[in-house]
Subunit: 332 residues, 2 copies
């Protein structure tokens, strides 16, 4: 049996990094991307990484229009590695990229990102993947991996319940581990997504609103307390939604962040580059889910309102057609 084939949608910091490593490990990998097609066809894909550089001279890369016309061969696994703000644009491509038994992997931030994907290919299994990585797209087909890289994987169920460690999850873990990527399989996707939000919700938002690094937010006693209060709101939201979080988790997150190198958060990088912020997936979805379960995330909602304001103003200022792309820095 040969290595499973992959189609990776998105050639940014996430898709570029993980796709290149899967290709280097012997998987047939096809990339589908909105931009950079010619540059990558000519110049290949290069990842600089403390884990070892990867240089792929001959890359199968298609633009989204080709995928839309059904010109891309179906793969065993389709990885959605675009920012959540671009998910809507790629849903229509999915049916043509799969064959019977293909698995879709949502390698994205936030809560509830698997639902629309599952709706687009209702006969297929969807696996959620959370990447804890500092990686940047520094040019077309050029990725700079700075630190971390662990992926947490869990099976999506339409009813939100824990799916357990399914065959699909095991297969994705095997492929990623075989590509040298630390990968953790867990049985409850919603719980894992909420736990990741405990970090993302305070640091992403406050880093944008206050134009600050995580180190600055932790050094100031007031913002450190605010970070912790927001973390507790996310924990309470998760608990209200039926996935309790250990009380020790907040202290762990704070402690991990204290020890972290002062990278900029992905949302701060997006904001600085004039790209849209992932507010639906990281703020709106958990706030709504918690509210539906009877818990009001007050500070989180206030931060969300501030971020919407800044994002809307940035949209008005950024010229239409300005360069967009993905980059992720702080473990995101």
């Amino acid at each position: 049996v040969g290595a499973r084939s992959y189609t990776v949608i998105g050639l940014g910091a996430i898709g570029g990094f993980y796709g290149a490593r899967l290709a280097a490990a012997g998987h047939p990998v096809r990339f589908v991307t909105r931009s950079d097609v010619d540059a990558v066809r000519d110049g290949g894909l290069r990842v600089e990484s403390p884990l070892g550089d990867v240089a792929l001279a001959d890359v199968e890369v298609h633009d989204t229009e080709a995928a839309r016309r059904g010109e891309v061969e179906p793969s065993d696994v389709v990885v959605v590695a675009v920012k959540t703000t671009d998910t809507a644009d790629v849903l229509a491509l999915l049916p043509a990229l799969v064959h019977d038994g293909s698995t879709i992997v949502a390698m994205q931030n936030g809560l509830g990102v698997e639902g629309p994907i599952a709706d687009a290919v209702p006969e297929h299994e969807v696996v959620g993947a959370m990447c804890f990585i500092c990686s940047n797209r520094v040019g077309p087909g050029r990725i700079r991996h700075l630190d971390y890289g662990r992926v947490t994987v869990a099976h999506h169920r339409r009813d939100g319940a824990a799916a357990g460690l399914t065959d699909e999850v095991r297969a994705v873990v095997d492929d990623l581990a075989g590509a040298g990527i630390a990968t953790v399989a867990i049985d409850d996707l919603a719980a894992a997504r909420w736990r990741k939000l405990v970090w993302n919700v305070p640091y992403n938002g406050l880093s944008v609103v206050l134009d600050a690094g995580t180190d600055e937010l932790m050094a100031d006693p007031g913002t450190r307390r605010l970070v912790e209060q927001i973390m507790w709101e996310v924990v309470a939201g998760s608990t209200a939604c039926g996935t309790p979080v250990d009380d020790s988790f907040v202290a762990e997150m704070l402690d991990d962040t204290d020890k972290m190198s002062p990278y900029a958060t992905s949302m701060k990088l997006d904001h600085e580059a004039g790209r849209p912020l992932e507010l639906d997936a990281i703020y709106d979805a958990p706030i709504r889910a918690a509210a539906a379960a009877g818990y009001e995330m007050v500070r989180t909602a206030a931060l969300h309102d501030q971020l919407r304001f800044l994002d809307a103003r940035s949209r008005r200022i950024t010229p239409a057609g300005a360069a967009r792309g993905t980059s992720r820095a702080t473990p995101s």
Copy 2:
């Protein structure tokens, strides 16, 4: 009986405007100021105003050191018109500026500003004054009054209870009204200070954090809702502290702001100029008072934490000895 004499401490947007009008109305007015003494002695005090310009060629002006040495003749009324961040610096001057029966007027923003003043001159009556004015100090002894100007006056009581319309309040109202200033006397100082905070707490803070005018904050549905939620927190804080606010007041404030010209808030101007923000008086005092009464102002406290962070960073960046002064724009 001659017109009552005034000493005005602070020659900024507030002290300069009201002091000049009192002088033009025939009151002997002495100014005490940290800076601008020579410039005002030489060049006088000029106020440009839609209510009519005032130009005073011969101004009695003293620096704070002269006041400290007791070289300033006591006045019937001493007006504290410095920013609350500078109150601590002027408390020691007060005993030498008063005679038996002098009234002190705290013409400042925020909650609880009269307490330290009353402690500094315990034998004297203290009147709180809230100015609803757009005025800027545009140079030494140069004030530009843009709009509004109404003053609300109430007598301070150590126990925080309503003092009623006292002789001291009536006398201050008479003097200000005689100087052409719309003045309102009310019987409950704490209630009036809380009501003013209903406006100041959301707009001052959000205008700094989001670098936005009141018009922008009102045009965005999310920040407009956040403004209103913070207003309701201030109303609830006031109510918890024993001074209920009419339910219609929030709608009135929103409506007034919709109709207001888009001035920058005083706190935004302070922040842009690298001056310290009046966070103790406008945020810390009401948050603590409400908490002591059993109500937690959650969104207000989060905003306060954000402002402390920005203020502390600004303090680190602003060179020591940079120009400081007062300017007030949005009705503050």
